[in-house]
Symmetry: D3
C-alpha cells in the first residue's frame, strides 16, 4: 500500500529485540540500536575529518541508519546460524536482498526504487564510510555487552561478545577514529568502578557527622 506501509514498518523495528533467547538486564531494540550506531558513526566521522580525512556524510548517515532494516524481513537470526557454512551465508545474503527488493518494488513508486535499492544494500563495504559503519556497529555491541557485565550478568556470553566486538574493531586500527576510541574512550570505560555496597556505611556516617 505504498509509502504508508514503509512508514508503518519503521515501528516494527521497535518490536524486534536484539539477542533473543538470552536473559539480559537491559533489552535493546533494533530501532534503538540503529539510532545509537548512527550517533556513534557521527562521532567517528568527526574524528576522521579532524584528522584530515574527507567524509561523505550523506553516505555515512545512509549506511548507518539503514544497516539493519532488512532484519524486518528475516528476523534476528543468530550469527552462528547465518555463518554456519559458506553456502548458507551466501544463500542467506541473496534471500535478504531479494526480500528487500521485493518490498521496495511492492511499496515504493518507481521513482524511488533506485534510491531505496541503494539504501537497503549491505553498507559495510571497503569505503571509509563502510568501514566506519563496521566499527560503529561493533562499538554499540561492545557497549551492550559492557552494560551487562557491569550489571553483573553471570552469563559468560557477554564476555564473548565483548571480545568478539573489540577484536573486530581492532581490525580497523588504521582508522584515526579507532585509534581515538582505543586510546581515549576505552580507558575511561575500564576505569569506571562503582562504590561497593560496603561503602554505604562509611558514606552514611560521613553524612551524619557532617550534619551534626
Amino acid at each position: 500500500m505504498g509509502v504508508h506501509t514503509y512508514f508503518k514498518s519503521l515501528s516494527d523495528l521497535e518490536h524486534l529485540y536484539r539477542l533473543p533467547g538470552k536473559f539480559k538486564f537491559q533489552s535493546h531494540t533494533v530501532a534503538a540500536h540503529s539510532f545509537k550506531v548512527t550517533k556513534i558513526a557521527q562521532f567517528l566521522g568527526t574524528v576522521e575529518e579532524m584528522n584530515g580525512e574527507t567524509v561523505n556524510w550523506r553516505s555515512l548517515y545512509e549506511k548507518s541508519l539503514n544497516h539493519d532494516y532488512a532484519e524486518l524481513f528475516t528476523g534476528d537470526i543468530k550469527t552462528p546460524v547465518k555463518y554456519a557454512t559458506v553456502e548458507l551465508k551466501e544463500l542467506f545474503s541473496q534471500v535478504e536482498e531479494q526480500m528487500a527488493r521485493k518490498f521496495i518494488e511492492a511499496e515504493f513508486p518507481e521513482e524511488f526504487h533506485e534510491a531505496y535499492f541503494n539504501r537497503f544494500k549491505e553498507g559495510k563495504d571497503s569505503s571509509l564510510e563502510g568501514r566506519l559503519l563496521s566499527v560503529a556497529d561493533k562499538v554499540d555491541l561492545l557497549y551492550e555487552a559492557y552494560g551487562e557485565i557491569l550489571k553483573r550478568n553471570p552469563d559468560p556470553l557477554f564476555f564473548e561478545i565483548y571480545e568478539e566486538a573489540l577484536t573486530t574493531i581492532l581490525k580497523f586500527q588504521e582508522l584515526h577514529s579507532v585509534k581515538y576510541f582505543i586510546d581515549q574512550v576505552m580507558p575511561d570505560m575500564l576505569a569506571e568502578k562503582f562504590m561497593p555496597h560496603s561503602e554505604l556505611r562509611d558514606l552514611t556516617e560521613r553524612i551524619i557527622n557532617r550534619c551534626e
Copy 2:
C-alpha cells in the same frame, strides 16, 4: 558443562518470543507455546484413542515437548525466509540438525546421545503421533491469532496466520481429532462474542433497578 547446561538452557526458551517484530497485545514465549502444544496434543490423542486408534503416548509427548527446542540455536527465523527457496530450506534443516547434534555431543554424556538425538529430531513425520503434533502446533498458532483478532489487533497479518493455520489443520481431515476440532470446538470459538460497550448502560440500569 554437561546436563547442568541443558537444564539451564530450558530457561532460555522463556526469553524467545514468537513472531518477533510485530505489535501484539499478548506475547507468547517458545516455552509457553511448547507447553500448550503438548496439552493440545494430549487432548487430540485422547480423541483418537476414544475412536479406536492406538496412540504411542511416549512418542506423542516426546515429539510435542521438544518440537521447538532447536529454535534455541537458530532463533525464530521468519517462515518466509526459511522457505524462500527449496535450497535454503534444505540447508537450514541441515544446519539446525547439526547444531542440535553438536550441542548434544558437547553437553550430554555419551549414554544419553541416542535418546536426545531422537528427541531433537524433526518430529512432524507421517506417523499418527507426527501428524497429531502437526495439528497441535497449528491449533495453538490458530489460538494465538484468534486472541489478537478478538482483541482487535488491526494488523491483517493475524487473519493471514489464522487462515494459514486452519488450512494446514484441514490437510489432516482424515484424523478423528481434526474432525472433532472442526465440528465441536470451532463452532464455540466462532460463537463467542463479547458484550459491546454500549450495553454497559443497560447493564447498569438493570443492576440499579434490581437493587432498589
Copy 3:
C-alpha cells in the same frame, strides 16, 4: 462452552506468575514452569530407565504437564498460608479438587470426564512417576532460586528456597536419578563462576596485544 474454553484457559497460565509479591530479576509463569518440569521429568525418567527401572511414560508425562493446572482456579497461594494449619491444608485440597471437578463437568463432554479427573488429580503420589514429579518440580524451583542468587538478588528468600528445594530432593535419595542429579549435575552448577568485572581490563589488554 466446552473444549474451546479449556483450550483458551491454557493461555491463562501464561499470565500466572510464580512467587508473586517479591522482586525477581527474572519472572517465571506457571506455563513455562510446567514445560520445564516436564522436560526435567523426561530426563529423570531416562536415567531411571538406564538403571533398569520401568517407567510408565504416559503417566509421567501426564502428571508433569498437569501438575499446576489447578492454580488456574486458586491463584498462587503462598505456601506458608496453604500449610498454616493441618485443617486448612486439608480444606484447601478439597476446594482445589472440587473446583477442578466443577470445571471439568462444566466444560468437557461426558466422555472426557474420567480422563480429565485423573489428569487434574494431585500427581505426587508414591509411584515412581509420582516421586519423579516431586523431584522435577523441586529441581525447577532450585534452578529458579539459583538464577536469582547468581544474578545477586539480595533477598535472602532465594537462599531459603534453594535450601528447601534441595532438602526435598534429598528426601528421594533412593532414586537413581536423584543420585545422578546430586553427583553429576550439581557439581557443575556449583563450579560455575563468572569473570569478575575486574578481569575486563586484563581481557581488554590481551585482546589489544594480540591484535597488534
Copy 4:
C-alpha cells in the same frame, strides 16, 4: 529486623498484581490500588461531611491505606476460593490475622504492637468509615473493570466484575456518598464515548480544508 523490614515490605506490594491469571490491557498493583482506594475514600468522606455526617478522618485513612496489606502474607487468593465454604473463609481469616500478628510481633518493637494490630485488622466494619472503605474498594474495582471494557477486553469476566462491584456499592445506598456516586459520577462514566475510527477520515478532511 525491625521497622526497616516493615519499610522494605511496602515495596513488595508493588510486585503483587491484582487479578492474576487473566489477560488485562492494564495491570494494577496492590500498592497502586491502595493509593487509589484511599483517594476515593477521601472524596466519599468529603461528601458525607458536606451532608452533615461526622467523619473520623484518622480512622478512614487508616482503614483505607492498610486494607490490603495482609495480601503480602497470603498472596492474592482468588475470591471464589476464599469463599468456597464458610469453614474455609473462617479459617482463612484466622490465618491471615495470625500471620499479620506474627509479623508485627517479629518486626515491631513492643510499643508499636497495639497500634499496628489495629491497623492490620479487617477494616470493613459497620462504622461509617468501615462502610466508606467497602464502597471505595469497590469503586476502584469498578474502574478497573470499566477500563478493560472501554479498551474492548473480550473477556466477559470484566462485565461480571463490573456487575459484582456495582451491586455491592448499591448495598450501601443509605450513604450520601453512594447516592452522589450513582447520581453524579456514573452518568458521566456511561456517557463517555470515543470517536470511532471511521471519523478519522472526516476529521482529516476538516483539518485539511481549514488549513487551506
Copy 5:
C-alpha cells in the same frame, strides 16, 4: 466531565514512572510512591505521638496522599531543571498551581473547590505535618536508591540520591521520628548483607550432609 474525570485521572499516576531516563532494576510509579510515603508518614506520626507531640492526622494524611498529584499536569521534570534558576523555580511553582486550579475548576462542582484547592497545594510547610511529609518523601526516596545499590546498580547516581535524601532528612533532626529513624531503623538497613554466591557451595554441602 466532573468527578468521573478525577477518578479516572488517579490511574494516570500508575503510568508516571519516577526517575525517567535512567536504567533501574526496579521501577516505581508515582501512585506507588504516594502510597508508600503515606504509610511512612503514618509511622513517623505514630512516633511523634508516642513522644507527646500532637499530630493532626487528617492533615498529615491529606498532605501525604496528594503531595505528587500535580505531576499529572507537569510530568516528572528533572530536579536540576526545576531548580536551575530562582526565577524558573518561581515560575514553575506558579504554573503548577495554576494548572491544578484550572483542573479543579473544570472538573469539580463548586462545593468541592475549596477542599481540593487545599489538598493540591504544596504540603511541605513548616507545620509538624508538613515537616513529616518532607521526611517521609525522602525516606521513600532513600529506600528507592538503597534498593538499586543493594541490587548493584553500577550507576553512581543512586549513591548521589542516597546522599541527598539522607542529608535532607537530617535537616529535620529536631523531630523525634527522625531521631528514631537514624538511631533505630538505619542501623538495620546498614547491617543487612546477603550471602555471597560463594557460600552456595558450603550451604549445599551442609544440606547434603544433614540429609544423609
Copy 6:
C-alpha cells in the same frame, strides 16, 4: 569522564518514554522516535531533491538525529507546561541550552566543542532542513497517535494529538514533501481498514469449503 560518558548516555534515551502518564497500547522511547524521525526526514528530503530542491543532507541528518537529545537533561516535560507562559517558554529554552552546553564542556575534549554545540542546538529553524525536521517530527507523532486510534485506545487525547500534528504539518504546505505526504501517503493511511471480528466466521467457512 569524556566521550565514554557521551556514548553511555545514548542508552539513557532508551529509558525515556514519550507521553508519560497516559495509558498507551504501544510505548515509544526517545531513542526509537529519533530513529524514525531521521528515516522520515530522509524520505522527505528525497522527495524535495526529486523536485529540484537542493538538500544539505549532512545538516538534515544532524538535525534529525539530535533533535531530542536535550530531553536527557530535562525529561519529557508536558507541552502545555512548557508553553504555559511566554516567559516560562523563554526561560526553559535558556535552561535547556545551558544544560547541553555544560554537558558538552564537561564531557567532550575542547576540539569537539563547536561541532557539538551546533549539533545540540534547536534544529527547527527556517532553513529547508529545519522545516523538514519540523515536518518529520510531526509525521512520527501523527503515526504514534494513529497507531493508538487504530488499536481503539478510548482516550480522546490521541485524536487531539492527531489533529495537532496534522495541523502543524499543514503549516508547511509549500514543501513538495508535505504535498506528497498529504496527497500520496495519507489516503493510504485513511483507506486502511481491518476485517471486523464478524468476518471471522465467513473466512472460516470459506477455508473449510475450499479444503473439502
